[in-house]
């Protein structure tokens, strides 16, 4: 027992600070179970002291760093930090009119800006009792599927695929190898279609100017929307290829620590509506989600982490397939029959496969919406009548559940806001995952360089977005 207590004490002091009473027990449990590990190292390595310090992790969205201290082949300290410099959006939106705020907050993030835009719009509409028209919702779905295609493709082709082929960059793919040559070209062909979809519907793929509270400021021409269908059809086989690659990928890490997967579930897997469901069986309405997310201050990180009712939480594509795989588009389900059984999966690397499947869903769902669209009616955004209220918006951003709560004054200005982003919700699980991975690798006597490579690969599988995570937090340092 004593040696186990020692091991507990040696466990990352930074992490322990995060743990409330109940989780501390889980943590010690998570520490135990490898009683022979320490002795094993004592015999095989006389000296196993080294430090790993990654200042700027590459091929992720934004800036993060990692410090690991290894003594006698055991992790003495491990800190995963988000090192983005804050821009204080939570403070900056106060006093701003509701009509201006969506275009402010979409500047939180370059890659998923349209997720922030639509989530903020939803919160304001809920607060002001504005019901968007069915045409508005259809166009928002199309805009959003464009985001899912281009954002997941960015992550899968540019960030994750080089790991599968043992390359430093997609740009290093061998033009003389037929498969690698194809994948390099697929990268840009697929992203371009997602990009195009967002441009046609929203006016731009990044910080789309047309979507607004109550509707669209400018509407797309029907023929431009219709012209997207053959392009979507063209990239479909490329995504089937991508799904196969990630399904056959041998990487595996299932956390030993108990993990709750959570995501918004809707009948048509739209990312924009529905009820939050968890792998533990909870069903939560959007307006109540804030009560279940517990903020955790991480002393060395610029961003705060979150737990779901005290449990370690993971959101994102892996979580969405965990709770709602059967809601995918029927054509998608048909095409991925062979892989559907993989989910629910606890293997973090399957987040990549789940994203590839979601691209296919976004393609199939978009084509159906485009087919159904017979005309674009010249609608104006619904009028805004300010009232004192609180509006809550929840959508599934590419990387997981995004939550906006906005208190609105009777003049239609923001009094107070809270924004909870996916990477914040995943941050604690991510650090735990890195810890377990490094522990596994040390057990196998892995060299420092390979540990670094493997850790980066795992972080990329989580697909964190640091720009999002760091920029609007209200932190109370004790």
């Amino acid at each position: 027992m004593e040696s186990r207590a020692d091991r507990g004490a040696a466990f990352n002091s930074g992490f322990l600070l995060l743990l409330s009473g109940t989780l501390q027990e889980k943590c010690i449990h998570f520490q135990g179970g490898e009683a022979s590990l320490f002795e094993f190292f004592m015999h095989t390595h006389d000296i196993g002291d080294f430090d790993i310090s990654l200042k700027e992790i590459s091929k992720i969205e934004g800036h993060a760093s990692l410090d690991i201290k290894i003594r006698k082949n055991r992790i003495e300290d491990l800190k995963f930090s988000i090192t983005e410099w804050k821009r204080f959006y939570t403070q900056a939106i106060r006093g701003k009119p509701v009509t201006a705020v969506p275009q402010m907050v979409d500047r939180i993030c370059g890659t998923c800006s349209n997720a922030h835009l639509l989530c903020c719009i939803e919160a304001i509409e809920k607060g002001l009792n504005i019901m968007p028209s069915s045409q508005t919702m259809l166009l928002r779905r199309l805009l959003y599927y464009g985001l899912i295609i281009r954002d997941h493709a960015l992550h899968l082709y540019i960030f994750a695929l080089p790991d599968v082929y043992g390359k430093s960059s997609i740009l290093d793919f061998d033009e003389n190898d037929p498969m690698q040559h194809e994948l390099l070209h697929d990268t840009f062909a697929v992203k371009e279609v997602g990009n195009r979809l967002s441009i046609v519907v929203g006016g731009r793929a990044v910080h789309a100017p047309y979507p607004a509270v109550g509707g669209f400021l400018k509407l797309p021409a029907l023929e431009d929307v219709k012209a997207l269908k053959p392009k979507l059809l063209e990239i479909r086989p490329k995504i089937l290829k991508l799904i196969k690659i990630f399904a056959e990928m041998p990487f595996e890490l299932a956390l030993k620590a108990p993990l709750t997967f959570s995501g918004l579930v809707s009948e048509d897997f739209s990312f924009l509506e529905g009820l939050i469901q968890t792998s533990a069986g909870d069903v939560v309405e959007e307006k109540d989600l804030g009560q279940h997310l517990d903020a955790v201050i991480i002393p060395y990180s610029h961003a705060r982490g979150f737990k779901f009712d005290g449990s370690l939480l993971m959101v994102g594509a892996l979580a969405r397939l965990h709770v709602s795989k059967f809601k995918l588009h029927p054509n998608t389900l048909k095409s991925i029959r062979d892989y559907l059984g993989i989910f629910p999966s606890n293997n973090i690397y399957h987040n990549n496969l789940a994203q590839a499947i979601e691209i296919l869903h976004a393609i199939d769902a978009s084509m159906e919406l485009i087919d159904k669209l017979e005309a674009v009616k010249p609608e104006r955004p619904a009028p805004i009548k300010p009232r004192k209220s609180t509006g809550i918006g929840v959508i599934e951003a590419p990387r997981g559940t995004l939550y906006y709560r906005l208190d609105i004054t009777s003049e239609g200005k923001i009094k107070e806001g809270e924004i909870i982003v996916p990477t914040g919700q995943n941050q604690i699980a991510m650090e735990r995952g890195i810890y377990e991975l490094v522990e596994n690798l040390l057990e196998k006597g892995t060299h420092r360089e390979e540990i670094v490579y493997e850790v980066e690969k795992l972080i990329r599988a989580f697909d964190p977005c640091m720009s999002c995570a760091a920029h609007f937090l209200r932190v109370n340092w004790q």
Partner: protein, 164 residues
């Protein structure tokens, strides 16, 4: 190989929208750009574990400067780059990443402990406050037409060297 344009791409305090736009512009331009450009530093595209910055023909820099460490890195980039180009609104004007510069007393008090703890600078700076900027591509995200026109010019020089 040495005739390629040696390019660095760097991000400071911002949402990295210009990086994303640049990656999307690769969709239609990658065949030309990858032939003519050597991405010396571009964390979004490849692992970069070089301890020292390398010499660059052009450094594209997005984002505003929030801390002393960022300021030092910007100055190192300036030293290594023949041409430094500020891309996007935050780099060119500071906004919106500099919004805390305009906070009222209450807002400032709320964030002060964070500024102290992580050693933020008193103010957020645009690039030209701190270093010489050779060219600017404004916009939030950067104006894609201006960026494409600039690339065309830069690569025309390379063409001249390749085929001239």
């Amino acid at each position: 190989m040495d005739k390629k344009l040696r390019v660095g791409w760097f991000s400071f305090t911002c949402c990295e929208d210009s990086t994303i736009l640049f990656i999307e512009l690769l969709n239609q331009n990658y065949q030309e750009w990858l032939r003519k450009i050597d991405f010396i530093h571009a964390r979004i595209l490849r692992k970069d574990d070089s301890q020292e910055l390398k010499e660059m023909d052009v450094a594209f820099v997005e984002g505003a400067i929030s801390s002393r460490s960022q300021e030092q890195k910007l100055k190192r980039i300036r030293k290594k780059a023949k041409m430094l180009i500020a891309v996007g609104s935050c780099a060119v004007t500071g906004a919106p990443s500099n919004q805390r510069n305009f906070f009222n007393r209450n807002q400032k008090e709320e964030i002060q402990h964070i500024l102290d703890k992580f050693k933020y600078q008193e103010r957020v700076f645009k690039l030209s406050d701190l270093v010489k900027v050779d060219k600017e591509i404004p916009g939030c995200p950067m104006d894609e037409h201006k960026f494409l026109a600039l690339m065309k010019n830069l690569l025309a020089d390379i063409d001249g060297k390749l085929y001239g």
